[in-house]
């Protein structure tokens, strides 16, 4: 096929795709139009039913909690997949780690060492990041936060420790065994909350804890806060696991053939 023919096929395809897109756009409902009844129903009843003012979390962990269990296990399986794919293969050998980001490439590249400014900022940010991660993970019931976001923020704190120049410190504060266990506890905890409801004779994932008396209080909302906590554990540990597997690959392991 000559370049000229390819160009004509491309132009015909892009014209067709463009026409379809314009046709679709012309048929869209107006900007901000919301036809369905469910959102309005949820807005009316959610706070009264659960005492949680973070209605998005209420939907995620309560009304469609069963879907969220599945989504949580998607991440769990993804992290497991990364761990399996990046396992030590025959012929790979570990290098001795020396320091931080300057180890990310081979010595021949002459990459400058991590600057003291980066180390300083990373160290300063680590503590506040942990606090913010826990805050976000534990306030799903009162704000538009939740376990997922909080978990990723928590994992970021561990990445900051690594950025501060301490790969060994990163390994020490997040040993693989502990990270694996925390991830399993997080994933299993969510499912266990649902099964506890079943054991009490209620439908799976029913909110069996006391809802508290004050809508919007941190202690209110029953299982919503508990599930968010478990999701935070699972997501934080999963991200730490994935990043540490990638760091192992990058910093420690070299192909034996090299």
């Amino acid at each position: 096929m000559t370049p000229g023919q390819r160009r004509w096929i491309f132009l015909a395809a892009i014209a067709g795709l463009g026409a379809f897109c314009l046709w679709g756009l012309a048929g869209l409902p107006g900007f901000g139009n919301y036809p369905g009844p469910y959102g309005n129903v949820i807005n009316r009843i959610a706070v009264a039913q659960t005492n949680a003012t973070g209605v998005v979390s209420t939907v995620n962990f309560e009304y469609r909690g069963f879907d969220t269990v599945g989504e949580e296990f998607i991440l769990f399986v993804a992290a497991t997949g990364v761990a399996v794919v990046l396992r030590h293969l025959r012929g790979e050998r570990e290098r001795k780690p020396r320091g931080g980001m300057d180890d990310a490439t081979d010595e021949g590249r002459g990459v400058p060492a991590t600057s003291s400014a980066v180390r300083m900022v990373a160290l300063i940010m680590t503590g506040p990041t942990v606090v913010m991660g826990w805050w976000v993970a534990s306030h799903a019931q009162t704000s538009p936060s939740g376990g997922f976001q909080g978990g990723v923020v928590l994992a970021t704190a561990f990445i900051l420790i690594y950025l501060a120049g301490q790969f060994l410190a990163f390994e020490r504060v997040s040993p693989a065994d502990v990270t694996d266990a925390v991830e399993a506890i997080g994933a299993g905890g969510f499912a266990a909350v649902g099964l506890t409801a079943v054991a009490m004779g209620l439908p799976y994932l029913s909110n069996f804890l006391g809802l508290g008396s004050t809508p919007g209080a941190v202690s209110s909302s029953g299982t919503i806060a508990l599930i968010s906590f478990f999701v935070g554990l699972e997501v934080g540990a999963a991200f730490i696991l994935i990043v540490s597997e990638l760091l192992d690959q990058t910093l420690l392991i070299r192909q034996g053939s090299q």
């Binding site: 139009n33 936060s145 990723v152 760091l247 990058t250």
Partner: protein
């Protein structure tokens, strides 16, 4: 009155509709420019950084369109987690090519 407006609440912090429209259009244009910048960046390492900035732009977009929960997710995943994993993968690949 449409169902969507039935729940609108006016608070001291409510932004006037006209100003909100300007804000939304501005952020949409910025996101389009950011996406173009990501595609046009040739060096993969630079691209990861530009992608991170694009993640922040998307987060602002979600905030302006009243989805603060998606904003938090996009900030953590799009602006931090994804670029970090890309940079680590790039470091690994560049080490292997030697």
């Amino acid at each position: 009155m449409t169902p969507g407006h039935a729940l609108a609440v006016v608070t001291p912090y409510t932004v006037p509709t006209g100003l909100m429209d300007v804000l939304q259009v501005t952020v949409l244009v910025l996101v389009a420019a950011g996406a173009t910048a990501v595609v046009l960046t040739r060096s993969p390492i630079r691209q990861a950084i530009v992608l991170s900035v694009y993640g922040i732009l998307l987060a602002v977009l979600f905030l302006v369109f009243q989805a603060p929960d998606v904003t938090l997710s996009e900030l953590t995943v799009g602006a931090v987690a994804l670029p970090v994993m890309l940079l680590l993968a790039l470091a690994k690949v560049s080490g292997r090519q030697k």
